[in-house]
Symmetry: C2
Subunit: 458 residues, 2 copies
């Protein structure tokens, strides 16, 4: 149990807050499914109402080309910093339904966990920020710093409206930094501060060796087989040791600093458990780095899919004329997606087997890697807040995945993003039986109060 | 126009024979589709009736586990040889229907060609053998040699009932050799005699690197990617020059003899046209051999299909845990399928990337390569018949594909098979708009009469 003067406030109101959270969780705000379009809007309106109830003076539900944005402002003192509070109110589709132990949109508490779609990702976290601001407003009349609330309904469909909105309305949502309520702890006892996420660049490559699939007996002996040509090309992207063999791929990649390695060493990463959970015992990858270094500090080139020819049951003696591969690269500072795509294309063309025609399709949706300055004042304030509350250092972590929203805020508002959030890695986000710990709902509210207060004292 | 005393007989009856062929073609005897089961039987009964009408004294429709066999006997003189006449009365499925210019089961003549599913493969050829025997019986009271008719309804589904039937009933269908009405000419002016067909051996290989597909950002950096592992394995099956790199793969393969090379040289093989038809300009394959040598005399290892991971539209950043490949090898004398499969498995295991688990599934349906003795009397008789009829040597050719039925007759009856048939290579067998030349329907009947008569004089 964390120590805080705010504990009693939230303990007294726990029943009401939980009932509100359940109401919010009952709205099936699935952004990916057109049938739930009105539910997504209902969730937006629900939040806007709750924000107004919390005392936030300036709340709007804004139209976008897709689902609405819920924007709020509470300006208290121009001498104080302005924090944007970011979260999303949309959720993943609940399929497959038959694997849920209780219905996804009928929240249920079992073993101290709230089970519902969106509980961990990230409705509990979102509501906690509103409840925290409400608490401070109730006690002090206002929050300790200026706040901009930015709640989107499209995070689970890659936030298509966020960057365009920010580009056109930067002055309306200007903030010094962003606090994201969407994120994770390291484990039940260890909050985490994420200091970088990887960028991404992807492509699809098509090899064509003939105008039609062919009878292998009539053509196989003398015609380049597209599947085989693709195998050769795909195999060429890494050297035998596991290093990416694309020329210049690592040019912009910085070697880990001593501090980075030290912080990594302090993270209690149980590789056996981590990889054992997916049935992997023999590891692989870029030589010279530990698994956690590879995961957090090193770029990768990943084959996401590869296919050619006959995939049915039984046998079909065909010489395939076309083969396809989908590749994405996870990027680290200071790699640039467009540059990496150019290098991938150069490599593919240089290694394209003779007799095959190559089509290179750079994918939309690339993202720059993101990293926050380790000495960013709002990050240090978060670190100190968590140290005080938990009595030990939070984990300084990174994300092997890509969170484009962080880069959107950086690019459009020049605002860094601090992940201040409470889900656990095994909370079944995006999977059946998603959960959020009951205890962490209180941790989220109390910690947010403490963090905003510390920011106000700075 | 070939010279023959039989020309006038068939010219006089052309309209009737064509009407009968059209009736036969109208029966959609698609062996692969359960919905057409009764149509296949209808075709069998149609043939049996037509055989009886032709005067063949002993005709039966025999049950098998699958579609029926139509068996006929006409024993004329024990001092004469016995030829089996083989063909199939089933056809390929007609899909895709929208590519047909006229409906597949409504025969139509355009530009001297009969368009219909099964016209070229091989209903015209089958019916021609019955019409030829009818003609000889009408003139002479009986055919010039003993005949066994063996018409199956499962050729397009790999003839599963033929070998078992032959194994149990060898004495009932004993013949000195087999004449197949299913086969091809080299081109419009050049009949062909096929002296070898390739064998086949196939397998499917599964590589597994984890118990589930993984998030590429969370696992891609340190877990063996199944697609990539498969690419490495598939690429290992050939060396850079195009030679099969499986140890011992060529051990049983004989170098071409001078006579074989000479006969190959005489075949008017237009590589530019042959490969151009499938959009291929840059050839590939085993070094040291011409394309036709590779096609007819050299074994191959063909990747028929390969797949792993995400194949949908857009992007899915997954690290695949499983990859599959389907491989078949086309074999030449004296390669043995079981031995080749052992060598493939040894190669796959030796080249399986660390961290991947390999499952090797040897496929059913392997077939030995087949070759007829170049001096076989029935082959020489066919050669002489064609030389006389066409005024030039027939092409002595081979088949890069596999015709398991040839090996079935060899194994179970010790009978060699002579392809005596009239389809053209570009007749769209197995494809939309299948055709058979109207002129070749007469060539087929007349040539069969001449051939049987020559066999009778031997």
């Amino acid at each position: 149990m964390i120590e805080s003067s705010w504990n009693s406030w939230f303990a007294e109101r726990e029943e009401t807050h939980l009932a509100e959270l359940f109401d919010f969780l009952r709205i099936p705000s699935v952004s990916a499914l057109p049938d739930h379009r009105s539910d997504v809007r209902r969730a937006a309106n629900w939040i806007a109402d709750r924000m107004r109830q919390a005392g936030i003076p300036d709340v709007e539900v804004l139209e976008t080309g897709g689902h609405p944005l819920v924007i709020g402002h509470w300006q208290v003192d121009l001498a104080k910093p302005t924090a944007m509070i970011y979260a999303h109110y949309d959720v993943q589709p609940p399929d497959p339904l038959d694997l849920w132990e209780s219905p996804p949109f009928e929240p249920e508490i079992r073993d101290g966990k709230i089970y519902a779609r969106g509980s961990g990702d990230d409705k509990a976290g979102l509501l906690a920020t509103i409840l925290a601001v409400e608490a401070m407003a109730a006690r002090d009349g206002q929050p300790p710093i200026n706040l901009v609330f930015f709640f989107e309904g499209e995070e689970e469909i890659s936030s298509p409206s966020v960057a365009p909105y920010l580009r056109e309305n930067a002055s309306k949502v200007k903030a010094d930094f962003v606090i994201s309520a969407d994120g994770m702890m390291l484990d039940e006892n260890t909050p985490a501060l994420t200091i970088s996420t990887k960028g991404i660049a992807g492509c699809e490559i098509v090899l064509t060796t003939a105008s039609t699939d062919m009878h292998s007996g009539l053509y196989g002996a003398s015609v380049r087989n597209a599947a085989q040509a693709m195998a050769e090309l795909v195999a060429s992207f890494h050297d035998d040791a596991g290093r990416v063999a694309v020329k210049g791929f690592y040019n912009q990649v910085n070697d880990p600093t001593d501090r980075e390695r030290e912080e990594l060493d302090r993270v209690p990463f149980d590789a056996e458990r981590y990889f054992g959970a997916v049935g992997v015992s023999d590891l692989w990858g870029e030589p010279g780095f530990y698994p956690l270094e590879r995961l957090w500090l090193r770029p990768t080139l990943d084959i996401n899919g590869m296919w050619s020819g006959f995939q049915g049951s039984g046998s079909k003696t065909v010489t395939p004329s076309e083969a396809r591969v989908k590749i994405t690269c996870r990027l680290v500072p200071d790699q640039v997606p467009a540059d990496i795509l150019d290098r991938l294309e150069d490599h593919a063309r240089a290694n394209c087997p003779p007799g095959a025609t190559l089509k290179f399709i750079g994918r939309e949706g690339s993202a720059l890697p993101y990293a926050i300055d380790r000495e960013h004042p709002a990050l240090l304030a978060a670190e100190e807040t968590l140290r005080d509350l938990f009595g030990s250092d939070p984990a300084i972590i990174r994300v092997g995945g890509t969170i484009p929203i962080a880069q959107d805020f950086k690019q459009e508002l020049d605002a860094d993003l601090i992940f201040f959030a409470w889900s656990l890695p095994d909370c079944n986000a995006h999977a059946p039986n998603e959960w959020f710990r009951l205890e962490d709902f209180r941790v989220a509210t109390v910690s947010t109060c403490e963090y905003l207060e510390r920011l106000g004292r700075a």
